[in-house]
């Protein structure tokens, strides 16, 4: 049994569970929390492309999510642009800003890149906070309209919005799967393993890294746009680096450089945070040690750990089969000689 044969049924079961979740959830609040976890997961899946697959720690990711959210907020509230047009523009604008930010910041390597992007994120935060005329400054934008209906489907309650978000989550994961399993994805991974070696293999470092960066900011922008239409209130604080660190925590817990790691991390940590609400600020006392234990014993994250076991088992079974074959062959040889 290889890991691929039962991967599809497993995914189908998970998807079925996601679809019936609203029907079995105790109340609308649970559906709301789950939808938020999905939105954060979409952003984290994007961050995982540049961090987990390409090996570049971009600390401005929350800033790009804010750009997406504010594009929707400003366009729909102040300019009366329909939600879905604003939605498309949100992804596009995040990607365009991401292109120029990437072109500049990816000239730096390693820690220098991360520090630079920390500044990029803070600049995005400052622009949002100070540019009152455009962004409503510290007040934030309130009363953002919910996504307008598409044909007969309305998105005016928590249920329908849950399915809308789920649809985009599945789309994001499907597209990400296509990217990371392609030759392009292999080029990203080669850069993560070693930039010098990747370049020797003829990979244009700058172009490939900028592409990964732009794609990841596009994901951030889409997640931000969904967030704006779902929460319907946005403030400049969403651009702060602390939100990027939340997403990094999702990725580390679930599995860095794995397709479903960011999703698993986002769901686990969101529910953990929710269930520890009663502890208020003391929840960090539970949260911190838990995270440390996880990093100590599962440095690849939960899915990373599981996948490594699978891979080792698959390698072992191939070896076993080869061994059996050679034993059989030698037996036959002995027999024919006799």
């Amino acid at each position: 049994m290889t890991s691929k044969t039962w991967q599809k049924p497993l995914l189908a079961v998970l998807l079925a569970f996601a679809i019936i979740f609203p029907m079995v959830a105790a109340n609308d609040y649970y559906i709301y929390v789950m939808s938020l976890a999905y939105i954060m997961a979409i952003a984290a899946v994007g961050l995982n492309l540049i961090l987990g697959y390409t090996g570049q720690l971009n600390l401005a990711h929350a800033g790009f999510m804010a750009i997406g959210a504010y594009t929707v907020g400003v366009l729909t509230v102040d300019y009366g642009v329909p939600y879905w047009i604003a939605f498309v523009l949100a992804g596009a604008l995040s990607a365009v800003v991401g292109f120029f930010a990437g072109l500049l910041s990816l000239r730096l390597k390693g820690h220098f890149f991360s520090i630079f992007t920390l500044c990029v994120g803070f600049i995005i935060y400052l622009i949002i906070e100070k540019w009152d005329a455009l962004t409503h400054g510290t007040v934030g934008i309130i009363d953002i309209p919910a996504p307008s209906g598409l044909g007969p489907i309305r998105f005016d309650n928590t249920w329908s919005q849950y399915y809308l978000v789920l649809f985009f989550l599945v789309l994001s994961l499907w597209f990400m799967s296509r990217i990371v399993h392609s030759l392009l994805g292999r080029a990203f991974i080669a850069i993560r393993n070693g930039e010098d070696l990747a370049e020797t293999l003829g990979i244009n470092l700058m172009r490939t890294k900028v592409l990964a960066f732009v794609l990841s900011t596009f994901y951030a922008g889409m997640a931000g746009a969904l967030y704006a239409g779902f929460v319907r209130f946005i403030g400049p604080a969403m651009a702060l680096e602390s939100h990027t660190f939340d997403m990094i925590a999702f990725i580390l817990v679930g599995g860095i450089g794995t397709l479903f790691g960011p999703l698993l991390g986002a769901i686990l940590l969101t529910w953990l945070t929710q269930s520890l609400q009663f502890l208020q600020d003391f929840r960090m006392i539970v949260f911190g040690p838990l995270l440390i234990l996880l990093i100590m014993y599962f440095p690849q994250g939960l899915i990373g750990y599981w996948r490594q076991r699978q891979a080792r088992r698959a390698a072992a079974s191939v070896q076993d089969r080869r061994l059996q074959r050679s034993v059989l062959a030698s037996q036959q040889e002995v027999r024919s000689n006799a």
Partner: protein, 254 residues
């Protein structure tokens, strides 16, 4: 095939390579030797495009490649290995090699978006190439092992295979036999000869003198960034300056 003219590299006040002029002939094994810090790896870095030379020219197949980026040099057919190779330990050996042929394919991001015929053909080609070079270096049996689980010598062979997957004309090997035992060193030397038989040109840096003396057609000796001698092994072995700078009196007598 590879001509070096007056190649110089200065890092601030330090001259790592000083005015080196030499040439490497097609389908030969060329070796670069010299004490630590002689500028051997810097020389490789200059040829493969990691450093821009301070002065001098590099001609590959008659074409001026001075100052090109590493990926451009690679596309022209210059491959290299490093002293240590970082593999993706969680993937199989074969998986690690597939990207090696990426530079000979043409599919772009949009092919990925639309999952085109071209992308699938390219991926098929890369996989076939990976299997071919793995077979060439004699590692087909570990194709499906995790990269984390293979031995140091197998790692060296995987590095060779990655370089070969780029369809190179010349391969630069940086200490290919570093950290492997004498028996395995013989095996790697045989692999280098096999590369020559398929029409490749090899240029290697190595400290194992027995291997170099029996393998190389031509040896270039660097010391403090300067070329102090070049020629066939027999000539190098008896060169007074080389003996003083590197080999030592014992080796010359032997």
């Amino acid at each position: 095939m590879l001509e070096i003219q007056g190649l110089t590299k200065r890092f601030g006040g330090l001259t790592a390579v000083r005015d080196v002029t030499t040439s490497f002939e097609r389908n030969r094994i060329n070796a670069i030797i010299g004490p630590n810090g002689a500028g051997k790896t810097t020389f490789f870095n200059l040829v493969s495009g990691y450093h821009k030379p301070t002065a001098g020219r590099i001609l590959f197949d008659g074409q001026d490649v001075t100052g090109l980026r590493p990926d451009q040099v690679a596309k022209l057919g210059v491959a290299r290995t490093f002293q240590s190779t970082n593999l993706f330990d969680q993937a199989t050996v074969l998986d690690n090699l597939i990207v090696g042929h990426r530079l000979r394919t043409t599919s772009t991001f949009w092919d990925v978006v639309f999952n085109t015929q071209r992308l699938r053909a390219d991926e098929h080609r890369c996989r076939a190439k990976a299997e071919e070079v793995l077979d060439f270096v004699g590692l087909s049996s570990v194709a499906h092992h995790l990269a984390a689980d293979i031995s140091q010598e197998e790692r060296k062979r995987v590095a060779f295979a990655l370089a070969l997957a780029t369809d190179p004309k010349i391969v630069l090997l940086d200490e290919p036999a570093g950290g492997v035992n004498p028996e395995e060193t013989l095996g790697l030397a045989e692999l280098i000869r096999k590369m020559i038989r398929t029409g490749l040109t090899v240029c290697l840096i190595e400290h194992k003198m027995d291997m170099i003396m029996s393998l190389a057609d031509k040896i270039v000796v660097l010391d403090h960034g300067e070329m102090i001698a070049e020629g066939p092994p027999a000539q190098i072995r008896s060169d007074q300056r080389v003996i003083e700078a590197y080999l030592g009196a014992d080796y010359a007598a032997a």
